[in-house]
Structures are given as structure tokens and as C-alpha cells.
């Protein structure tokens, strides 16, 4: 029986506990939160053996084989280091760390100790995302990706979340180098990183505050971000984060030199784009039929998964956790290669550095005009 612990008993910990519960051959031996009441409420709602408010006590008493770290991002590094030092494998929620250096240190430590470590990029393991990966690996795109577009949006304007963050300067989001963006964009960036090697990467980022957020008094928060990524003048990608565009897409498009694919995470659909054109008017009539057929196929696949009780909202998380546990127990490959985790953090570092520089230049321009 694999002994699992969860550190940090907030919202995402509920998802972890629920998915771990669905996996055979493991048990939650302890949950821990600095706030004892939070640890207790998770313990009371799920089959959990003990609850703690001190991480060292959890490690000592419950002796977990794996620790899931679901605390606010700024504490990921320290907690993961402690767990690795103790000899536990670690699953770190996204964003993995606050910067690439921290990520490198953690991965090096895990490797040195012969322990497994992974990042919570669970969206990449949802049903349609897995089908997409299989198609790409089978050579559907041609000789490899030429261009990608990743949309990762968030309807910020209407949420109490935005109001709460804006009003509470003590909220941990303010202490992240990339503030709000850091907490949200890693899923969308990780999708791109999966298909890059990381050699001679160029990142150009442009961000601004939407008028809607400005009206709410959030001019210090960037909620509109556009990024161009270019690798060796071979593969390129656009990344879009928007709090205002509708629909608030979570979509990934990948084009090779032969065909393309569109993955829609919200609808759990994968659509093949045929590279070759049909002759003359046939191009106007055949593709719509083909798309209709593909959407019906997606509908059937989704319905089948639902009937088979395998269509949970967090199905990607279960798959990732299961794969991670298999890598621990059976020596199966890491579900997410370490290079991908590092590349995701490197791209995010580059984005935030540029946004910082932009902000500073705006501030200095404002100052110059004042003097």
C-alpha cells in the first residue's frame, strides 16, 4: 500500500484527496496544514488516517512514501526540499516553483536522492489531451510541430476572487514574481513546452491591464498577456492569456508541416485539421461534413467515458497521479519529463522579467513626465 500525504488543505487539496481516493493500492496516511482546523476539516471529509499542523510531525509519524504539496506557490520549494530530504517522493502543484533556479535545485535534489518529483500539470492528461499526444507521437503532424497556439483564459472580471485579491495586499498572489499570472498560466505554457526542446529559445511578451480590471482598481495586475515563443527559427508558438475575451478559451492548436490539431479542453474535443486541400468547390463542402463527423465522434467518445465512470472533471489529475505512482512503484518513466518542467518555468521567468521591465519603463516614463 503506497502511503500518501497532502500538505496544504485548501481548495485544490480537495481535488487531490478525491482523486487519490479513486486510485487502488494507496491510502492517505496524513494531511497537514499550518492551520489545524483546515487540516481537521479535510480529515473529517475524506478517508484520511491522521491530521497534523506541523510538517515534520507528519513526516515523522505518518511516514508517507509520497507527499502532495498543495500549499501557496511561494512555499513549494521549501516544503518539497524538506520532504525530499526526508525521503518522500513529491508531487508539487502548479506553479512548480517561483523560478527556474528553484526548480533546477529541487529536481537535482530528487535525482541525487533517487526520488521522484513531478509538477501538477494535470490538464495535459485529460482525455482529449492524451488522444492529441498519441496522434502527435504517431507522426500525424508530419515531421514535427511548426507552430502552436495556446489559449488559457480566466473570467476574472466577474469573480469575487478578483475583488478579494485586490483588497487584500497580504494575499499570497501579491508575493509571486508574476503575481496573478504566475498562479494561472502554467497549464497553458506547459502545453507549449511539451513540444519544444528548449534550445535557443526566444520569448517576447507583452502584457497590460484590461480596462475592466482598471475600473475595479487593479491597475497593478496584468490580466492580458500575449507571448511569442520561437525556437531555433524552426518552431514557434503564441500564448494568449485573457481575462476579457469571450469565450474564455482553454484551447491548444498545433500545426505540423502535414496536418494540424485543435484541442478544446472545456469541451473535451480533439479535431483533426487536414493539411491537403480538396479540389475546387469540394473544399467548401467536404470539410464541414468531416468536421461534423469528428464532433459526433468526440461526443460518442465522451459519452462512452461518462458511462464507464471515467469522465470526472479532474480526470487528468487522476491519470497524472496514477502515472506518477506507477513511476515510483514500477519504475515507469516520469509522466512529465523533468526537462519539460524546467522549460515551463524558464518560459515563465522570461515572460515575467519582460513584464517587469515593461512596467518599470512605464513608471520611469511617468516619472520623467512629472519632473
Amino acid at each position: 500500500m503506497l502511503k500518501v500525504a497532502i500538505v496544504g488543505c485548501g481548495k485544490i487539496a480537495d481535488d487531490h484527496a478525491a482523486q487519490i481516493q479513486r486510485i487502488e493500492g494507496c491510502e492517505i496516511v496524513g494531511v497537514c496544514d499550518r492551520e489545524p482546523l483546515m487540516a481537521r476539516q479535510l480529515y473529517e471529509r475524506f478517508p484520511v488516517k491522521q491530521h497534523f499542523s506541523d510538517l515534520r510531525e507528519l513526516l515523522c509519524d505518518a511516514k508517507p512514501d509520497v507527499v502532495h504539496i498543495t500549499t501557496p506557490p511561494e512555499s513549494h520549494s521549501d516544503i518539497a526540499r524538506l520532504c525530499l530530504d526526508w525521503g518522500s517522493h513529491v508531487y508539487v502543484e502548479k506553479p512548480f516553483t517561483l523560478c527556474e533556479d528553484d526548480a533546477r535545485t529541487l529536481i537535482a535534489l530528487a535525482t541525487e536522492k533517487g526520488l521522484k518529483i513531478t509538477a501538477g500539470h494535470d490538464d495535459q492528461f485529460r482525455h482529449a489531451a492524451r488522444r492529441m499526444r498519441a496522434l502527435v507521437q504517431s507522426g500525424f503532424l508530419g515531421s514535427g510541430p511548426v507552430h502552436m497556439e495556446s489559449y488559457y483564459c480566466y473570467e476574472l472580471g466577474q469573480t469575487a476572487y478578483a475583488r478579494a485579491i485586490l483588497a487584500d495586499r497580504e494575499h499570497w498572489v501579491w508575493r509571486l514574481p508574476g503575481k496573478l499570472l504566475q498562479n494561472i498560466i502554467s497549464h497553458g505554457i506547459a502545453r507549449i513546452a511539451e513540444f519544444l526542446s528548449g534550445d535557443s529559445l526566444e520569448v517576447v511578451a507583452y502584457g497590460f491591464t484590461s480596462p475592466a480590471l482598471k475600473r475595479m482598481g487593479g491597475s497593478e495586475i496584468i490580466d492580458e498577456l500575449r507571448v511569442i515563443i520561437c525556437e531555433q527559427e524552426r518552431t514557434t508558438a503564441y500564448f494568449t492569456f485573457s481575462s476579457q475575451m469571450r469565450p474564455a478559451l482553454h484551447q491548444f492548436r498545433i500545426y505540423g508541416d502535414r496536418n494540424g490539431l485543435i484541442l478544446d479542453q472545456d469541451q473535451e474535443t480533439l479535431i483533426k485539421l487536414r493539411g491537403k486541400r480538396y479540389v475546387s468547390y469540394a473544399e467548401k463542402f467536404i470539410p464541414p461534413v468531416s468536421f461534423a463527423r469528428q464532433y459526433l465522434g468526440n461526443l460518442a467518445t465522451n459519452a462512452r467515458s461518462f458511462l464507464a465512470r471515467d469522465f470526472h472533471m479532474k480526470s487528468g489529475m487522476k491519470y497524472l497521479i496514477e502515472s506518477f505512482y506507477r513511476s515510483i512503484l514500477e519504475g515507469a518513466p516520469d509522466p512529465i519529463p523533468h526537462s519539460q518542467i524546467l522549460l515551463t518555468t524558464r518560459i515563465m521567468d522570461a515572460i515575467f522579467a519582460q513584464l517587469d521591465a515593461q512596467q518599470q519603463s512605464v513608471e520611469s516614463r511617468v516619472q520623467a513626465s512629472v519632473y
Binding site: G10, K11, D168
Partner: protein, 357 residues
């Protein structure tokens, strides 16, 4: 406030009263009710993120000679709680994570906040009453004869984690922690449990009538009485329970008189606010559906969340009667705004909301 009423109160009109959740739907009415009762020294605790318009209502409450102090903070911060409870004689604790859908968020803003406030109140020894505002959501209604009266003697849900409702889980745990601190530290506490509080500011149709989750409104309560209390009536009940002598350690339910049946309410709503399609689901059918949903959620290991289940059915849609006898007898409360007048104001606010949408 007359001299006899004043004599029955546990504090004088100059003593300091703290209201948490003061910018909330009920909190803002409670502040104005306390001022109307002649209390002159109020501290209103609001979050910096509270809606400005609601905070403005509080500042607008100020009367001649009365001090309405606005304290900004978050009950999740112990320092903020210490500052808020300093020199306070009565705490009306209304702040809660009412709209939170997730268990951790609801718990954090209802239970951790309450614990922080209770601990802060121990430091400062001048507290004479801690008024814990709970809810009907904590009661279980299982194993009772049909139409039995739900009153203060009814048991509280033993397994709120199985109700599929983050809010009721948090409110049960809030009551537990209040009871624990009262027992351990001798904090004088009284609990008020309102039914569904309605009025301008809380326009949605209560889930006790039915649900609109599936695109069409399913009317589940039929001929059941709905435990309505108009917001001003409820605020007055809360105020009086906190002020009246001899209520320590007790529980008071709040519902108005002349409770309408769900069917009547829905008919009036459709007449006065807007027409929409609703389907009546008989009780036996809604019970079976809740049972099936519960079993499916279990069998599929959460593919559907356990939102509908028998515990929830019993608590919300089972035929029940309600009583406000204790409140009337012990604190001398009676609903000043009759149901017809309350509905008039409520429907008007709903109509304005529909127009603005």
C-alpha cells in the same frame, strides 16, 4: 426604547457593540436596528473588499450622538480580530462564507474566522455576550414524522459532510466551535438560527422552493411552508436575542408569522416579478431522484458531485412546520413587517434587479 426594555437588556446604550459582516445583507440592517434601539457606540467590521455601496449604507446609518466606527480587516487575521474585539461588550457575529461553493473556502470564512474571533474575545475580558448567527441549514430533518414542527429542540446534522453542501457543513462546524469555546473558556454565547432571510439585497429564489440548475425551474416544495423571515424582522430578532438577559447558552430560531406555502410564493413571484416555466416535482419523485443521484455519485466515485442526496432532501424539501414561539416568549420579538408588506418590498427589488440585468 423605553426604560423597562432598557432594564431587560444586558448592556447600557453607551457600551460598545461589535458587528461582524456588517456590510452584509443582514449585517447592515442589524446596525440600523441597533441604532434605532438607542445604542450609541457601534463598531462595524468590514473587509476592505466589501462592496462600497454596502459600506456606504453603514456610514449613512449614523444618527445624532451615535458613533458608528468602521473597522476594516479580515477575520482570518488574528491581529484584526484583536483590534476589533477590544473593549467590546457584545459581539454580533454575522460574518460567514455564505456564497462559497467549495468546502475549504466556506470553512475558512465561517469556522477559522469564528475561532479567531472567539480567541480574541478571551483576551479582552469585557465581553458579556457572543451572538453566534447560525442557520436553519444546520438542522437535520430525518427520522421525524411528516409535518412535525422544526424548533430549537431539533437535532443538528451529525454528518454534514454527507449533505453535499459546503455552507451547511461550515455552519455546523461553526456552531461546534462556538459551543467548544463557550464550554472551555466560559464565553457567554447565544445562538440565533434564522430560516431563509429575504428582502431587497437577497433576490434569488431560495433553494427551499426549488432549483433552476437544469435549465428549467423544478418546483420541489409544493405545499410545504417556506421558513421565510424578512430581513428587518430577522435583524431585530438577532439584536434582541443578544441584548436580552438570561439567554446565555440558548438557541433561538427565527421565522416570521403566516408563512406561505411554496406554491403560493411561486405564484406571487411569477405574477409580480417575471413569468417563467416551472415544473412541479412531487415529493415522492424528488425523494427518489435525490436517492438515485446520491447512489450514482457514490457508485461513480464523484463523476457527479453529491449535490443531491437524501439528507439534503430531508433538510430542504420535506414537509415541515416551523415555530417562532420561543423567540416571542423569551425576548418579546414579533415580526414588525408583515409577510404581505415584506413580499411587496422584495418583489419590487426583484423587479428592479430584472430590469437592471
Amino acid at each position: 426604547m423605553g426604560q423597562t426594555e432598557r432594564d431587560a437588556f444586558i448592556i447600557g446604550s453607551d457600551e460598545l457593540i461589535l458587528v461582524t459582516g456588517a456590510s452584509g445583507f443582514i449585517g447592515s440592517r442589524l446596525v440600523s436596528c441597533l441604532l434605532n434601539l438607542g445604542f450609541l457606540n457601534l463598531r462595524c467590521f468590514v473587509r476592505p473588499s466589501s462592496e462600497v455601496t454596502r459600506v456606504e449604507v453603514l456610514t449613512g446609518c449614523r444618527r445624532d450622538g451615535a458613533r458608528v466606527e468602521l473597522v476594516e480587516g479580515n477575520l482570518l487575521s488574528r491581529e484584526d480580530c484583536n483590534a476589533a474585539t477590544k473593549d467590546v461588550a457584545i459581539i454580533y457575529h454575522l460574518a460567514a462564507g455564505r456564497g462559497e461553493k467549495s468546502y475549504p473556502d466556506a470553512f475558512l470564512n465561517s469556522v477559522v474566522t469564528t475561532r479567531n474571533l472567539l480567541e480574541a474575545s478571551i483576551r479582552d475580558q469585557c465581553l458579556r455576550q457572543f451572538v453566534n448567527v447560525s442557520s436553519f441549514a444546520v438542522y437535520t430533518n430525518t427520522k421525524k414524522p411528516r409535518w412535525r414542527v422544526l424548533d430549537e429542540s431539533c437535532p443538528v446534522e451529525k454528518h454534514p459532510e454527507l449533505r453535499g453542501d459546503a455552507y451547511s457543513f461550515a455552519k455546523v462546524k461553526q456552531d461546534e466551535i462556538v459551543a467548544e469555546y463557550a464550554r472551555k473558556f466560559g464565553i457567554p454565547c447565544v445562538t440565533v438560527r434564522p430560516g431563509h432571510v429575504y428582502g431587497p439585497g437577497n433576490e434569488p429564489i431560495t433553494g427551499r422552493v426549488g432549483i433552476g440548475t437544469f435549465g428549467v425551474f423544478l418546483h420541489l416544495a409544493g405545499s410545504n411552508a417556506i421558513p421565510f423571515t424578512y430581513v428587518d424582522n430577522c435583524a431585530e430578532a438577532i439584536a434582541l436575542v443578544g441584548l436580552t438577559k438570561g439567554t446565555d447558552g440558548e438557541v433561538f430560531n427565527v421565522v416570521d408569522d403566516d408563512l406561505p406555502s411554496s406554491r403560493n410564493f411561486l405564484r406571487l413571484y411569477k405574477q409580480q416579478v417575471r413569468r417563467f416555466r416551472s415544473i412541479y416535482v412531487p415529493h415522492s419523485l424528488s425523494y427518489v431522484l435525490c436517492y438515485l443521484w446520491e447512489q450514482y455519485a457514490k457508485w461513480s466515485k464523484g463523476q457527479l458531485p453529491p449535490t443531491f442526496n437524501r439528507l439534503r432532501w430531508h433538510a430542504n424539501w420535506r414537509k415541515t412546520r416551523y415555530s417562532n414561539e420561543k423567540l416571542k416568549m423569551r425576548v418579546g420579538w414579533k415580526p414588525k413587517v408583515p409577510m404581505a408588506e415584506g413580499f411587496k418590498r422584495y418583489f419590487e427589488a426583484c423587479r428592479n434587479g430584472v430590469r437592471d440585468a
